[in-house]
């Protein structure tokens, strides 16, 4: 019996192919993920972009071109400038504040940090319209209670706070999503930081401030860039605040102009699509920049040692707590209480009525013939989307960060795209996809179609947040997993997911909360059969039933809060919050 060298053993073609495939499995998985994500994202966006080049039926030589139509809308330039002013003002104020707050919450021994952090979750869950109405009650120039108190106390002679102003608009942005979403996302990122990095800095003689500026913040670059970019894009899209506070003072922004086009009869989808596409074009370079800045060097802060010591605030501990707790109570608990109280008031903001309080709105809303079915649909939608999102977003983010594939960057870029086109415009693209792709057409008219759309709409938020978390993980963790014999799936399942679980929990709850209150993306796919509570709320609002609308809004917030509390309890029960 003779022996032959191994590579000289003839192998079958099948075995050869199998071996090659096995060796290239990372590339294959990345390619499959990219293909699936690109299809799901580019189909609806492509539909919208395509329509912007289809002439419409308006008369005139250039009137047929949607791009001309959109940008010849009266006052468009001023509206774009107004948008830039608001976005810049909000980001300049909110970014340093949020970074500071997150650092305090995650890196110091501030008392009640978990509770304060949870209050920022509450801020995120509160509907911007509800919060704005609450602030109007306090800061309206004519009947605002705060102005009245100051006048009655003799401190001022005329109202000094006016929410119907540029700074009023900025203030409402800050107290709705401007700060809360940043703190929600940055705090876990700061918490992931291995404290040995700071300790090394202290040993080298740097003080806390210098350590923060020279060591901690540079390590947080990917997280801060992602959060900043998300906030800027979101700032370009939101329109409720400017619609209510800006319209009476003739302050239109880009998104309110887009709304005007969409609200036309017939709706000018194509012209509105051009505005959406213009944002896409403007944001793309920022996405590329963000990608470059996040990947040009290692930002790993989660290593094998896992030091988690907190900086002692010493005598500043309680003053810092009072300032932080007071601020967050003002921005979260006060609007929350006003929202709940408003649902029990006969007329919101009228305290001089013969009977101020009532259960009538709750009775009307809960007895609504569609309430129970809408609630059930909403829970299916929220939980369905959240569960689907957490699993798949993690895989997509992993491929965008770790896959040994040239498609890594492309995956990252493409997941940003659903965020860059306003939901109200993209909804038409989603509608086309849901109807024209056979497998999705089966879901049309069901909650399944809404889950699909909500999954896509939340993808940028979810994937980017998980991606940042993965960028913070050192590759040595995975290498250790492989050394002890784990394949990439096992490493992903047994090491990456557990370490990233605090972030996954945050993503899950954010997706859940965003999904159950969202209307714009799912509006065109909503029918009587799959109506959810947010759509019912819109129906109440459109029909002028403000009390029942407030009740439905309150129910949505309470369900979000309940889900958040459960997530936190479950997380701590299973030790997930060790870092998170």
């Amino acid at each position: 019996m003779t022996t032959e060298p191994l590579d000289a053993v003839p192998v079958s073609a099948f075995a050869w192919v199998f071996r090659r495939l096995y060796m290239a499995r990372g590339e294959i998985v990345a390619a499959a993920v990219f293909a699936a994500v690109a299809f799901l994202v580019l189909y609806p966006i492509g539909t919208v972009v395509y329509l912007t080049f289809v002439p419409n039926e308006l008369s005139g030589v250039f009137g047929t071109i949607p791009w001309y139509r959109a940008f010849s809308e009266p006052g468009m330039l001023q509206s774009v400038l107004n948008t830039i002013y608001v976005v810049v003002a909000v980001q300049v104020i909110s970014m340093p504040l949020s970074v500071g707050i997150s650092w305090f919450l995650a890196r110091t021994d501030l008392p009640g940090a978990r509770m304060i952090e949870f209050c920022f979750w509450i801020m995120f869950f509160l509907p911007s319209m509800g919060v704005m109405t609450g602030w109007l009650l306090l800061f309206d120039p004519d009947f605002g209670l705060f102005n009245q108190w100051l006048i009655d106390a003799g401190l001022i002679k005329a109202s000094i706070f006016n929410l119907y102003s540029f700074w009023g608009i900025v203030f409402v942005h800050l107290t709705t999503y401007g700060i809360s979403v940043k703190v929600m996302l940055l705090t876990p990122a700061f918490r992931n930081l291995d404290s040995s990095v700071e300790e090394a800095s202290f040993l080298c003689g740097a003080n806390r401030w210098r350590t923060l500026i020279r060591i901690v913040l540079p390590l947080m670059t990917p997280a801060m860039l992602v959060v900043l970019l998300m906030s800027i894009i979101r700032g370009l899209e939101t329109f409720e605040i400017e619609q209510v506070l800006g319209t009476p003072i003739k302050f239109q922004v880009y998104s309110t102009k887009l709304y005007l086009l969409m609200a036309n009869s017939p709706p000018e989808f194509r012209a509105a699509g051009t505005l959406g596409t213009a944002v896409l074009a403007m944001v793309l370079p920022l996405i590329v920049l963000q990608r470059w800045a996040s990947t040009r060097r290692s930002f790993a802060v989660v290593g094998g040692r896992g030091g988690n010591a907190r900086i002692r605030l010493g005598r500043w501990r309680w003053p810092a707590f009072i300032a932080m707790a007071g601020g967050v109570a003002f921005m979260s608990l006060l609007p929350f209480l006003m929202l709940v109280a408003g649902s029990f008031m006969k007329l919101f903001g009228f305290f001089d009525l013969p009977q101020v309080w009532t259960f009538d709105h709750w009775a009307t809303a809960l007895a609504d013939i569609t309430f129970i079915a809408s609630l059930r649909n909403m829970l299916y939608l929220g939980f369905g989307t959240a569960f689907l999102a957490v699993g798949i977003y993690a895989l997509v983010a992993y491929c965008a960060v770790r896959a040994k594939s040239r498609l890594r960057g492309a995956i990252d870029m493409v997941t940003w795209l659903p965020y860059t086109v306003p939901g109200i415009v993209l909804s038409f693209g989603y509608l086309n996809m849901a109807l024209q792709v056979p497998i999705f057409a089966l879901l049309y008219g069901t909650v399944g179609a809404l889950i699909l759309v909500s999954f896509l709409a939340s993808m940028p938020l979810g994937v980017q947040v998980i991606k940042v978390n993965m960028l913070q993980m050192g590759t040595e963790i995975e290498e250790a997993g492989r050394i002890v014999g784990g394949g990439w799936t096992r490493t992903f399942r047994r090491i990456i997911l557990p370490i990233g679980s605090p972030t996954l929990a945050v993503v899950g709850i954010m997706v859940f909360a965003s999904t159950i209150r969202s209307v714009s993306s799912i509006m065109l796919l909503s029918t009587g059969a799959n109506r959810v509570l947010s759509v019912l709320q819109l129906e109440f609002l459109s029909g002028g039933s403000l009390g029942p609308a407030a009740v439905v809004g309150t129910v949505i917030v309470l369900i979000s809060l309940a889900a958040a509390i459960v997530v936190r309890l479950v997380s701590s029960r299973f030790g997930i919050q060790a870092r998170g």
Binding site: E73, P74, G75, Q78, S79, D142, F143, Q243, V244, T247, P248, K250, F251, Q252, Y259, L260, M262, A263, N264, S265, P266, P267, F269, K346, L347, F350, L353, P354, Q355, D368, I369, T370, S427, F428, L431, N432, L435, Q436, A441, Y444, G445, M523, L524, S526, T527, G528, A529, R531, V535, L538, E539, F540, L541, S542, G543, G544, S545, L546, G547, P548
Partner: protein, 368 residues
């Protein structure tokens, strides 16, 4: 002699009697005919089991329809979707391009895009019940239908709308004497609140009325010189009046907009400028009716059409939603605020009144 007289009279009355008998037989036959058709349609509708309706936002009307229908036809499910009239047409045309024909009934404001897209069938062939198909009860088909061919979209509601004012600030006598011209008084500059007329909605139809009353120059004066405050919803308009920030409101009807406030005990005397053609326009309250082509439930559609147009439902719905029915045999809610007989009113939702063009002009006059 007497006998002859009786026979002679009977003989003379014979033709009349015969005619009466024929007429009665004809009527009985006609009744038998529509009744048979109706029974057959209802039976077939029950087999279909469902009717799908897209309607404009009104929770009060939605609740009424759902409850009343369930009471009357428990075997047929009523699937009601609140639709945005601007987004609905692209939605349905996209569905149809994908081979999905899901809708039976259009029950929203008159919408010319629905007609232009060829989505509606003639309504009259769906009418079976005699009182439903009597044009006299609806003021004639020319008046009832909003499309050029007078067959596709029919208004069910007489919605007479006038701007309203705070009577504690503007004397009712003056409002009565001067009508809408009061709105051009410089004293009320910045004191007029208006549901944003640059957006399709309840503020926009007033443009046709103002253009009709003031002319183009007057409209410009109102929009630019008087600097009205545009708001995004009805409640902001009502609240501006209640809080004293505005004196005149151009946004729907005061009795419905301010109902929550007055019922809660807010003391305010708010009145519409009037029900004359110079102070009010006529609309449909988003309650026009049409049937879709290639509808999936044709029999249930017929039942719904006849049901919602019947006198009983028209009367009940009028009370429930607080808008007058167009049916002449249904009593108006407020006899003092109805259309003057024979007068011409601007029907702002008819194409010939150019509300859309005025909207474009206002966008240019007030770009921010």
């Amino acid at each position: 002699m007497i006998m002859n007289d009786v026979v002679s009279r009977l003989w003379r009355a014979m033709p009349v009697a015969v005619l009466m008998l024929v007429a009665m037989a004809g009527a009985a036959s006609a009744q038998a005919s529509w009744q048979a058709e109706w029974d057959k349609t209802v039976a077939a509708a029950k087999t279909e089991g469902k009717v799908v309706v897209g309607m404009s936002p009104s929770t009060v009307r939605r609740d009424f329809l759902l409850k009343q229908w369930k009471q009357d036809y428990p075997e047929i499910e009523l699937s009601l979707s609140i639709i945005s009239s601007s987004g609905f047409v692209p939605q349905v045309t996209t569905e149809r391009a994908a081979g999905k024909y899901l809708w039976d009934i259009w029950h929203s404001g008159p919408n010319f895009e629905v007609i232009k897209a060829g989505l509606l069938d003639p309504l009259q062939p769906e009418m079976i019940l005699p009182d439903v198909k009597d044009p006299a009860l609806w003021g004639g088909w020319d008046d009832a239908f909003y499309d050029d061919g007078k067959q596709l979209e029919m208004g069910l509601v007489n919605d007479l709308e006038s701007p309203y004012y705070n009577a504690a600030v503007i004397a009712p006598e003056r409002a009565k004497a001067e009508g809408l011209k009061v709105m051009l008084d410089p004293a009320y500059k910045g004191k007029i609140v208006w549901f944003d007329p640059r957006v399709t909605g309840p503020g926009e139809p007033f443009l046709s009325l103002f253009a009709h009353v003031f002319g183009d120059e007057g409209l410009k004066k109102l929009v630019v010189d008087q600097d009205p405050v545009f708001v995004g919803n009805m409640n902001d308009a009502a609240q501006a009046i209640v809080r004293g920030k505005a004196v005149i409101a151009v946004a729907g009807k005061p009795q419905s907009n301010l109902a929550d406030y007055t019922q809660a005990g807010v003391k305010i005397d708010v009145r519409p400028f009037g029900a004359t053609p110079e102070t009010a326009y006529r609309g449909t309250d988003g309650a026009a009716l049409g049937v879709f082509t290639k509808r999936p439930h044709p029999n249930a559609t017929r039942v719904f059409v006849n049901w919602i147009m019947s006198k009983r439902i028209a009367a009940l719905m009028s009370v429930a939603v607080q808008y007058d029915s167009r049916r002449k045999d249904v009593r108006p809610l407020d006899p003092n605020f109805t259309m003057l007989p024979g007068a011409f009113y601007i029907d702002a939702q008819r194409a010939e009144n150019h509300a859309r063009e005025y909207m474009e002009k206002v966008r240019e006059m007030r770009p921010q």
